[in-house]
């Protein structure tokens, strides 16, 4: 058995801390004690493996995967990019799942009561596996901004939630995609939980004219970076013997 090397330590300076009082829900949902640091064992360097049997042909196409009587309303977009690790190596065959509001900013969820209407042709979720080069794409509708109760007048910028697995449980990540130029980004208490402006830019998808389909669908590019892994292993007692 090959001896496993560890994944790089998370740079917590680029992640939101647990306690972010301007995002009020975090106040009672944030641990007060420090996280206890583990040297990674087999439990952390492994994670679930997915295959093509897990996803169906239309799962990545949110314009068609819930369409009942026609296409959903809204701006047709392609969201595409690569899942890479911090060594800039592609992360192949990894599951990417997304969810989002419809063009009016309404989620298809029994707990969402916003007055914007449900779109009968839009479910709002998709999933796909990256290819051998770590590449993925979705076709969807650009989500709308919507209000939420934090301060009484907070609006979420248009966003798509992303869930990514990588090759190990320690790479597991949920994040959100924002759209270039959205004036709500600097005003959003959830975006602003991220302490580093460069890290916010990294979550902001770029208009990608080269990937648009002329007269049909506009495109945004969104690369996702997961934790990298050491390639050199000098410890002689990391695992097993």
């Amino acid at each position: 058995m090959t001896k496993p090397a560890e994944y790089y330590q998370r740079d917590r300076g680029r992640h939101p801390p647990a306690y972010t009082p301007n995002y009020k829900t975090s106040v009672a949902r944030s641990p007060r004690y420090s996280l206890i640091s583990l040297q990674q064992s087999v439990s952390e360097i492994t994670g679930p493996v997915f295959g093509h049997d897990d996803v169906a042909a239309l799962d990545h196409d949110l314009i068609k995967n819930y369409a009942k009587h026609g296409d959903p309303v809204g701006e047709r977009i392609i969201v595409h990019g690569r899942v890479l690790d911090e060594n800039a190596r592609p992360v192949p065959n990894t599951l990417v799942e997304i969810w989002q509001a419809n063009a009016g900013g309404r989620y298809r969820h029994k707990k969402d009561t916003y007055l914007a209407p449900i779109d009968p042709n839009f479910g709002g979720c998709g999933r796909t596996l990256t290819d051998d080069e770590g590449y993925y794409f979705f076709r969807t509708i650009k989500p709308g901004a919507y209000p939420w109760r934090n301060m009484v007048n907070n609006w979420r910028p248009a966003h798509i939630h992303f869930s990514v697995f990588g090759a190990s449980f320690s790479q597991r990540l949920i994040t959100q995609l924002y759209f270039e130029g959205d004036p709500l980004i600097p005003l959003c208490p959830i975006v602003q939980t991220i302490p580093d402006p460069d890290a916010i830019d990294q979550l902001t998808a770029k208009l990608d004219m080269n990937a648009t389909i002329p007269l049909d669908t506009i495109a945004y590019r969104f690369d996702i970076v997961l934790r990298g892994r050491r390639s050199t292993l000098f410890e002689n007692r990391l695992e097993g013997n």
């Binding site: 206890i36 064992s41 439990s43 492994t46 679930p48 800039a88 969810w99 969820h109 597991r172 949920i174």
Partner: protein
């Protein structure tokens, strides 16, 4: 100035939000879209070992259950092997060892069925007591919380476990130990998670 290190930086986490179910468990959000949702069968039909149920609630700092939480479980099979190329050995056909757990939106109670994992080899040749790795996301949780569930009927193994023993505050170790009961012939372990407040669960930087 020396050379430049051209590492990329990990994308930042953002909260899973209140509508995480749409993406990861759409049936719970109230609609049917996928042929199969992922993560509902952790062990599969062929797994050996003791069939168990884990149940619990996740509480916030006010002591209220977090009703919109989503958990993921990652565990070894009864031999202590993970279903992964570096997982230590073979697992049964259909054993993935990964599951998604959602709550009852009214009570915050959650439960999942699996098999009891075996002990896995840890670092430096130290055996880890049987455990299930848990990852917790929800609205108000900015980055997923990692913890481990251990079993209260593994007293000896727990006492030697290298991760439990990392926890300097011995009185906090009990927050990782699930309590075994039986109900109508079913083995049930209760595991309540306290994100904040009295008896705050130990969370790990992994």
């Amino acid at each position: 100035m020396g050379q430049t290190l051209n590492y990329l930086k990990e994308s930042s986490s953002q909260t899973a939000g209140p509508y995480v179910h749409i993406g990861l468990a759409p049936g719970a959000a109230g609609f049917d879209i996928y042929d199969q949702e992922l993560g509902w069968d952790i062990a599969g039909p062929n797994a050996k070992g003791e069939r168990i149920r884990i149940e619990g609630q996740v509480f916030d700092g006010t002591g209220s259950p977090i009703k919109d939480v989503l958990l993921e479980a990652w565990q070894a099979n009864a031999d202590g092997n993970y279903a992964h190329p570096e997982g230590g050995g073979e697992v049964e056909a259909g054993f993935r060892g990964w599951g998604r757990v959602i709550t009852d939106f009214d009570t915050g109670e959650w439960a999942f069925d699996t098999v009891k994992p075996g002990a896995a080899m840890g670092r430096s040749g130290r055996v880890m007591a049987p455990h299930i790795n848990l990852w917790i996301v929800a609205r108000g949780i900015n980055i997923g919380l990692n913890t481990r569930l251990y079993f209260d009927d593994e007293v000896e193994a727990n006492a030697k476990d290298p991760v439990i023993n990392l926890i300097e505050w011995e009185n906090r170790r009990k927050t990782l130990i699930a309590k075994r009961t039986e109900r109508e012939g079913q083995v049930i372990y209760r595991f309540d998670i306290r994100v904040q407040g009295e008896n705050e669960t130990v969370f790990f930087e992994i």
